[in-house]
Amino acid sequence: MNSARKKDLVMLVFALILYGVLQTMISAKIIGSFWELNIILICVNIILSVSLNLINGYTGQFSLGHAGFMAVGAYVGVVATVKFGLPLIVALILGAIAAGILGFLIGLPTLRLRGDYLAIATLGLGEIIRIVIMNIDYVGGAAGFKGIPHLTNFTWVFFVMLMTLFFIKNFVNSSHGRACIAIRENEIAAEAMGVNTTKYKVMAFTIGAAFAGVAGGLFAHQFYLISPTSFTFLSSFNYLIMVVMGGMGSITGSIAGAFVVTFISAALASFPEARMIIYALALILMMFYRPQGLFGYMELTNVGPIKKFLNKVSGAKEVST
């Protein structure tokens, strides 16, 4: 069997062990409902930060509209389950498709912009999505959508997260992913090497938006109510912070970023006065001492001993991936 496949398999085994441990602890009530909720939030936030990393970190297109796509996925998802009685998996897929299509339509014109201009345009479009939803009475308007069945649980979010990670990992480690990274590194050179830069920017944006939609669907079915205020630009910033903190251009980094940010805000939940100050200080210190983020461009699977172990298990030669 191929060594890359074997490595995937080893990682899958580890993920299943982690799942088993956490699930047992949740069933045995060792992890209480507060931390169970936060574990679920961490998984959802990992989906969001990894998909945002594809746009911001790998392709280098500064997007601030992620909460908007999440909102689309959430609302399409709840309409599918509540109004049409469809199962959760169908709702998630419909949410992903809707967010993906919207990402494509928004990406096509806005990705002609660069840097700050793109950031502001996506920020504005994210807000437009939210305000449009706020004015649709069919989904509850500003008051929010009530009576959503609680369909999500740890198993759901964990395996959807795993699938997302698998998808995005494979994408970035291919010619398509290399095209995206080339755009980040040097757009003129990428174009001169035969990369259709517009196509790949829009592709990354669409894929990122679709996964934000999936995360939105999971998020909505966790809480019995969603309202447009759950998807303001502040949450977009929050996901951006996870990406920057973990390292732009590292999947492991996004996982770590989502974990750290969610964990800090949960752990400090009992000190509401100090919470934002500590959070902000942590970020400032981070930018001072490790501006490239926790992982920079590195992946955990490429760190010395782990890499050696993986190579040994999979029988691969000493090559970097």
């Binding site: 010619s175 003129i188 830069t197």
Partner: protein, 259 residues
């Protein structure tokens, strides 16, 4: 006409505002030739490259490559047609490994699709393997294989120049455009580069057009030379013709030098 030459430009001109950067630019290159494009600073040499590679769209005129017009195509489409280039100010993917720099350039030859990518099925593993092998092979030719896993920006200057050429070759071009490949190199490195260019042309069946200020290199390897001054071709011919051409001497040394 069009099917005789590999590349042919007909009355191409490029106007930036009120400035005519290049005008009545007529050159042709046949398959297998090694052509030099020289001229004083600001003569429009790089503009000519940018016109051929689609970075600029010509204000007037026609550019034909392999019998088809290139006017209006995007740079990536022109690369797919078979023209690859290097840049005067090195434009590597500086944060990536040397190997990845070369791998990216195979992009337009990859056939596996998005589904095969994310599910890792079908052609994915086979093609990735052959890309890696070919890329390592190219690096060996350019004596960069020892640095394959280093970050590109940490390479010495001369090696970065070589990597740019290796990367351009990975796109499997028919015509290779080199924009001052020897800039910043010492005489020893320039000498090695000259042999390298000659060798890759034979090995890969390439046609080469190069811009260069280093006259030892240009006169040493080019079969024909075009001389640009103020956006106009003032002379063309073999290296010995060019060396004797009074117009060229005037452009480079001033009118007094002739008298």
């Amino acid at each position: 006409m069009a099917d005789k030459h590999l590349l042919e430009t007909v009355d191409v001109s490029e106007v930036f505002g009120g400035l005519k950067a290049v005008s009545d630019f007529n050159i042709y290159i046949d398959k297998g030739e090694l052509i030099g494009l020289i001229g004083p600073n600001g003569a429009g040499k790089t503009t000519a490259f940018n016109l051929i590679t689609g970075v600029y769209k010509p204000t007037t005129g026609e550019i034909n490559f392999d019998g088809k017009s290139l006017v209006g195509l995007k740079p990536y489409e022109i690369t797919q047609r078979g023209i690859a280039r290097t840049f005067q100010n090195i434009r590597l993917f500086s944060e990536l490994s040397v190997l990845d720099n070369v791998k990216i350039a195979y992009h337009c030859h990859v056939k596996y699709g998005l589904i095969e990518t994310v599910l890792r099925m079908g052609r994915y593993f086979g093609e990735e393997k052959s890309i890696e092998d070919e890329a390592l092979n190219l690096l060996k030719i350019f004596k960069l294989d020892d640095h394959a896993y280093e970050v590109a920006k940490n390479l010495p200057y001369g090696a970065q120049r070589r990597l740019e050429i290796a990367r351009a070759l990975a796109a499997k071009p028919k015509l290779l455009l080199l924009d001052e490949p020897a800039a910043g190199m010492n005489p020893q490195e320039t000498q090695e580069l000259m042999e390298m260019i000659r060798w890759i042309r034979e090995q890969f069946g390439l046609t080469v057009l190069l811009i260069e200020h280093d006259m030892s290199l240009v006169m040493g390897i080019c079969e024909r030379i075009y001389v640009l001054e103020y956006g106009i071709i003032i002379a063309d011919g073999t290296p010995s013709d060019i060396q004797k051409n009074p117009e060229v001497i005037r452009a480079y040394l001033g009118a007094e030098a002739i008298n």
